[in-house]
């Protein structure tokens, strides 16, 4: 794995006995000795610590005021950036001219600049896209900071023990905190469906912070394996799987992330790439939709499984984009795209598993209710 990048926590992962795998150009822990199931359940019961340093951290500054950086950003994504209050973060997607999704990201207003967290595999693309699209803004890739996620019902109590100010943060609040581990950029958010925090820390302080968190009896290290089953139970999209340049945000069930001011009749209607198609789909509905699917029995129905409307014959009507066994759900779960008229809750479809069509039922997302602190 010599040509892979490491994170400031790679040595710690090895010391903890992690199984390392290549992921998005990085050497990352897929699981620790406890294993995926236990790591998943521990996160839902107490708190899991994740290394997400592979994700891109980007600062966008305007030459003049924050106002113009925010306004410029609105040309790249169908999101209300101008009205995002200072100290708050919002989920959004970069779109292309046909309404497809170039990446999904978190975007925070930190007063005199915007702070973005983007997917590892899309970081270089996104930075080039920002530089081309926002020529009057300064785009700075943050390279010397790690990113940790502390997720689960005990996350608040644990992190507040080190950084007292975090207890009063609400879901999607962001703040800068001084600590024994240097300046921390903290948001109350995550990718598990649980309450928790994402913590940007200087590369030099990352390991001592991670060790301080892991010293708490409620905290266990969690790898990418459980991160995937947790996000799938929470009904969250994984870029490159559930969303990509061939899916629009409306098809993907992400219309909630497009605020009214950017929709038809809004004061800043349209003005983002792919607006024609996306605004039309918001009004008239898309032709297909991302849905939750519960397979019958215990066999997981994985990514790529073709979906049929009938038990025998006919062409596929859709495809599964993510599928796994849900450790908390105690059952298999999948997400995929189906024609809009087959997207109603309770619709029975059939997934082709090893040559046999097995029944699946369209189910509301998330599979496991979220525990966010609103």
């Amino acid at each position: 794995m010599s040509d892979l990048e490491t994170t400031p926590l790679t040595a710690l992962h090895r010391a903890l006995g992690a199984k390392m795998v290549p992921f998005a150009g990085y050497e990352m822990p897929v699981q620790f000795p406890a294993g995926v199931l236990k790591e998943h359940l521990h996160t839902r019961a107490a708190a899991g610590l994740f290394d997400v340093s592979h994700m891109g951290q980007v600062i966008v500054r305007s030459g003049e005021s924050h106002e113009s950086a925010a306004a410029a950003m609105e040309a790249l994504l169908p999101v209300d950036v101008l009205d995002l209050p200072e100290g708050r973060q919002r989920y959004g997607v970069f779109t292309n001219e046909t309404g497809g999704i170039l990446d999904d990201l978190m975007l925070a207003n930190r007063g005199d600049h915007l702070f973005l967290v983007v997917n590892a595999a899309r970081r270089d693309h996104d930075i080039a896209h920002l530089r081309a699209g926002l020529p009057r803004c300064r785009i700075e890739e943050i390279k010397h900071r790690a990113l940790l996620a502390l997720q689960g019902p005990k996350a608040e109590a644990v992190l507040a023990g080190l950084v007292p100010g975090v207890a009063s943060m609400r879901f999607m609040d962001v703040g800068v905190f001084r600590s024994d581990h240097g300046e921390l950029w903290i948001s109350r958010s995550g990718y598990t469906g649980e309450d928790g925090y994402e913590i940007s820390v200087g590369a030099g302080e990352a390991e001592t912070l991670a060790r301080a968190l892991l010293a708490h009896e409620d905290v266990a290290p969690v790898g990418l394996g459980a991160r995937d089953s947790l996000r799938l139970e929470a009904g969250l999209c994984l870029y490159g799987h559930d969303i990509d340049t061939n899916t629009t945000p409306v098809e993907a069930g992400l219309a909630w992330a497009i605020q009214k001011v950017r929709r038809l009749g809004g004061i800043r209607e349209g003005g983002f790439p792919g607006a024609e198609r996306i605004l039309d789909e918001l009004e008239n509905g898309p032709t297909r939709r991302r849905v939750g699917l519960r397979p019958e029995g215990r066999a997981p129905m994985r990514e790529g499984t073709e979906l049929h409307a009938v038990a025998e014959g006919g062409d596929p009507v859709g495809k599964i984009t993510s599928g796994a066994f849900g450790p908390t759900l105690q059952a298999p779960m999948s997400m995929g795209y189906v024609p809009a008229d087959m997207a109603r809750e309770g619709t029975r479809l059939y997934g082709d598993v090893r040559g046999r069509r097995r029944p699946v039922t369209v189910t509301p997302l998330p599979f496991v209710p979220a525990g966010f602190k609103r």
Partner: protein, 119 residues
């Protein structure tokens, strides 16, 4: 006990062969969440896919190590697939097969050879 390069173990028991996967295989697969077993009475040929295992990571097949007839399957694994991780060499056997050609057993490794094979 004999071992295959597919990380299965075979143990003779009253004229039939009990088949499971090794500790090494169970560790490599990770947490097992689903096991699909064949019907008892099924006639199989060596290298037929007879069992499907799904772990949290991926699906894999278990191949019939011998020609013969499946005489019994371990139904307990259907409800508790995690047993394969807990006791792969003991309680978590998958199926029993009545070999048509018992000499096929001779092709497989003994424990020392399997340990060498693992390296």
């Amino acid at each position: 006990m004999k071992f295959t390069e597919e990380h299965e173990w075979l143990r003779d028991e009253d004229g039939v062969t009990v088949v499971g996967i090794t500790q090494h295989a169970a560790e490599q697969l990770g947490d097992i969440v689903f096991v699909e077993l064949p019907e008892p009475g099924t006639e199989v040929s060596k290298d037929d896919e007879v069992v499907v295992i799904e772990s949290v990571k991926a699906a894999s097949d278990i191949l019939a190590p011998l020609d013969g007839e499946i005489t019994e399957v371990n139904e307990a694994l259907t409800d508790e697939p995690g047993k394969v991780n807990e006791d792969p060499m003991g309680d978590a056997w998958f199926f029993k097969i009545k070999a048509a050609e018992p000499s096929q057993m001779d092709d497989y490794m003994d424990e020392a050879a399997y340990q060498d094979f693992l390296g």
